[in-house]
């Protein structure tokens, strides 16, 4: 057991930290972290930030050097996430391009695909989204119905995708479509396409969330077109490509855990500062007890993550343990956000500029309901853990 950070790792942290201090958007370090409200301006702001990361060599640290990355170690990736969360850096608009599509193309794309996309993913010229879920294919992703039919040298794609994040900004979509149908094994017959979003057959429509935000989209595909050159891997073998793609996002959950930790620390500060009946919340014995319990669980979930990371480091690839991290961080985030609401008492229902303390608690609370659904519901995670990690039998019908 060894929790020390090597000198190289520490140097990496300091290098990144000082680069961030110099290059974050103006005013960011002083607390002015407002992003533009209007869609175009928002997109431009984040593309600029992505470009800046690229220019500083910080856009895709895990990529091989030859493709513009840094060949970062797993630990450096962790440090990267920690620093980004610490400074509350602007979101990465090309998260999907950098963390998923890029590595997939580097590993198994054609030379043509690499040449066409890799550099643009890095610079943010090509912002990517993923086209997976459909109205009737949520937890049961293999049930997708969007189909691609070969006509001449083109594939004609029709169908509807939902919950497409970044869809409203994206230039390209990593799309799963059905190219044949196997009654028994629905996940066969799915093909992965690199789809151009800027074409007449593609239309996006934002989904308004329960927290008022619009982070997801419906994507309507009406005779959208792709070519053979846009297929990743083989026709009908897209499921495997998608699984490999998800495994490339090997440290994403870390960022969520560090965010959880940061929020917990913020919650402690809030409970120290906010008073009820002339006494800071944190002096109330109920709140102390509950917060001590949360401390243990937040700490435990981070430690689980480090332990799973150790397994990944040793065996060279992540295992089903990542479902544990996902399940724990999302459920705990939800519970903590609910608690942060409760302790503000009735005045805690005030919202936005009228909020009692800080509207982010309310925002986190509402947003937290998405976390136990998106990226695989908690129910799906439990099945995965039960079946893959514990070897329990599969559900009937699945």
């Amino acid at each position: 057991m060894d929790f020390t950070i090597t000198k190289n790792e520490e140097a990496f942290r300091l290098e990144l930290r000082s680069w961030l201090e110099e290059n974050l958007p103006p005013g960011w370090l002083d607390g002015n972290k407002e992003l533009p409200k209007e869609k175009e301006a928002y997109s431009q702001f984040l593309r600029d930030w992505q470009r800046k990361l690229y220019e500083g060599g910080w856009a895709a640290i895990a990529w091989p050097k030859e493709y513009g990355g840094r060949d970062a170690t797993l630990m450096e990736e962790i440090i990267y996430h920690q620093e980004m969360v610490r400074i509350d850096a602007p979101p990465l608009i090309n998260y999907i391009g950098i963390h998923m599509v890029g590595p997939t193309l580097i590993q198994s794309g054609t030379e043509e695909q690499k040449e066409k996309h890799i550099q643009k993913i890095l610079t943010g010229e090509e912002v990517w989204c993923q086209g997976y879920s459909e109205p009737n294919a949520g937890s049961d992703l293999a049930a997708i119905q969007t189909n691609a039919v070969k006509e001449g040298d083109k594939w004609i794609i029709n169908g509807q995708k939902v919950w497409t994040s970044f869809g409203q900004f994206a230039d390209k979509c990593f799309l799963l479509a059905r190219t044949s149908y196997d009654r028994e094994k629905k996940h066969r017959g799915i093909t992965a396409f690199l789809l151009d979003m800027h074409q007449p057959g593609v239309e996006t429509k934002p989904i308004i969330q329960m927290d008022g935000k619009q982070e997801f989209n419906e994507v309507y595909l009406t005779d959208a077109i792709a070519s053979d050159a846009d297929i990743v891997g083989e026709v009908d073998k897209g499921w495997r490509v998608m699984i490999a793609l998800m495994l490339h996002e090997r440290t994403g959950i870390g960022a969520e855990l560090f965010t959880l930790e940061k929020r917990f620390n913020d919650l402690v500060e809030m409970a120290k500062e906010h008073e009820v009946n002339g006494q800071p919340l944190l002096k109330d014995s109920f709140i102390r007890q509950k917060m001590a319990g949360l401390y243990a669980r937040v700490r435990g979930s981070l430690l689980n993550y480090y332990r799973n990371l150790t397994i990944t480091l040793k065996q060279g690839h992540p295992g089903a343990e990542s479902s544990i991290d996902k399940l724990v961080v999302s459920e705990l985030t939800k519970e903590m956000a609910a608690f942060a609401m409760s302790i503000q008492g009735h005045q805690g229902v005030l919202w936005k500029e009228d909020a009692l303390i800080d509207t982010r608690w309310q925002e986190n609370f509402l947003a937290s309901f998405g976390q136990t659904i998106g990226g695989g519901t908690s129910e799906v995670q439990r099945n995965t853990i039960g079946e893959r990690l514990l070897g329990l039998p599969k559900d009937l019908g699945r």
């Binding site: 937890s139 989904i207 009946n277 009735h346 005045q347 229902v349 005030l350 919202w351 309901f369 129910e379």
Partner: protein, 377 residues
């Protein structure tokens, strides 16, 4: 032994359900959250014509002179529809207090208009950044001849933009303890400044009311001067029995939604209700609902009984239903999956309402402590 609403009460519920179905159920709340109130006002007037606003008002004041149990179907159905307005505060707080503490003049002024649906009364207790406790009440009503001069601010006044009258808890004497507090009626016309406040529950309008030396006549005092906190505690018995029913109505709708969705939504070739993770969770939601309902029925019955454990009974209903409503509303979102997280489906409206009520005039811990002290522990 007959532990059920009467046939008449159930029949009345049927009318109300039908009427609110026709009005679009939560559609009214959704429009209210956008500031549209035309249809809402017409619906409220219609409910009044159905008798909803006269139930606990004596016949001599134009009411139906029925019991508090007869209010239960109305609260439940309103809760189910998330119907905006201050029916809860009017019928579940102001009316019983006016009947008990009001002067003849006050009864004559307020009760007939309430019964007719032309006046609604909301409640101003909490003040900005202050707690729900006697010490939190700093709004001051000083005497000036036959008048009271009111200065201060009330916050989180529910649906204050729809109300015609505000029943305010104010300080009529120096000090900051439990004594020296009184209830006063302030009418909309008296000149309070209204400022809408944003609420996490968009279909609930909250208002900040500011008073800058507003003069009102002395006879606007409700009950004895200085007895405000005691009157509040009395009123909270009524309010919380009513609120429990309102939450039960909301919970019922939530459990219905989850059940129906689990029957029709298919994944892996199965209705998701076939998976025990979903099925058993809905069953647990149903248990929460039925327990909350039993407690709320009994609480409303206890209001007019001499039930020994009256306070503990009513506050158990409040405390249990509060947690249960939050719980079932949260599960309902998860069961709906992605669509449950969208604005389009009603799931979130119920969650937000559940959170809105969570600490309304007292937190769950507060009411648990009231149960304990009510039982002499």
């Amino acid at each position: 032994m007959d532990f059920a609403l009467s046939e008449e009460q159930e029949m009345f519920r049927g009318y109300l359900r039908k009427y609110l179905d026709d009005a679009g159920q939560t559609k009214l709340a959704r429009e209210y959250s956008k500031g549209k109130t035309n249809e809402l006002k017409a619906t409220l007037q219609g409910l009044s014509e159905l008798g909803a606003t006269g139930i606990n008002i004596p016949e001599v004041y134009g009411g139906l002179e029925l019991g508090t149990l007869d209010l239960v179907p109305v609260f439940e159905e309103m809760g189910r529809a998330l119907l905006p307005g201050c029916y809860l505060e009017t019928m579940g707080f102001a009316v019983p207090l006016i009947k008990k503490y009001g002067t003849k003049a006050q009864k004559e002024k307020y009760l007939p208009e309430i019964a007719a649906g032309t006046r609604s009364i909301t409640l101003g207790v909490i003040e900005p950044k202050r707690d729900f406790s006697p010490y939190g009440i700093q709004c001051f009503a000083g005497k000036e001849g036959d008048d009271l001069v009111l200065t201060g601010t009330k916050t989180l006044v529910p649906d204050g933009d729809l109300a015609d009258t505000y029943l305010l808890l104010v300080r009529t004497d120096e000090g900051d303890g439990q004594t020296g507090l009184s209830f006063v009626f302030v009418d909309h016309q008296d000149g309070a400044q209204l400022q809408l406040q944003k609420c996490i529950d968009e279909s609930k309008h909250l208002v900040e009311l500011s008073f800058d030396e507003i003069k009102i006549p002395n006879e606007r005092l409700l009950g004895e001067e200085g007895q405000g906190w005691t009157i509040l505690e009395d009123g909270l018995l009524y309010l919380n029995a009513a609120l429990s029913s309102m939450m039960v109505g909301g919970m019922e709708k939530v459990v219905d939604m989850a059940t129906e969705y689990a029957k029709i939504r298919e994944q892996f070739g199965q209705p998701i209700g076939r998976f025990q993770a979903i099925k058993h969770r809905i069953v647990d939601m149903k248990l929460e609902l039925e327990t909350a309902r039993s407690l709320s029925y009994y609480a409303n019955w206890a209001l007019e009984s001499e039930e020994q454990e009256r306070e503990a009974t009513i506050y158990s209903a409040r405390s249990f239903a509060t947690n249960a409503f939050i719980e079932v509303a949260s599960h309902n979102i998860q069961i709906h999956g992605g669509i449950g997280f969208s604005e389009e489906i009603d799931c979130h409206l119920f969650l937000k309402r559940a959170r809105y009520y969570e600490s309304y005039l007292g937190s769950v811990n507060y009411y648990n402590e009231q149960i304990a002290s009510g039982l002499g522990w």
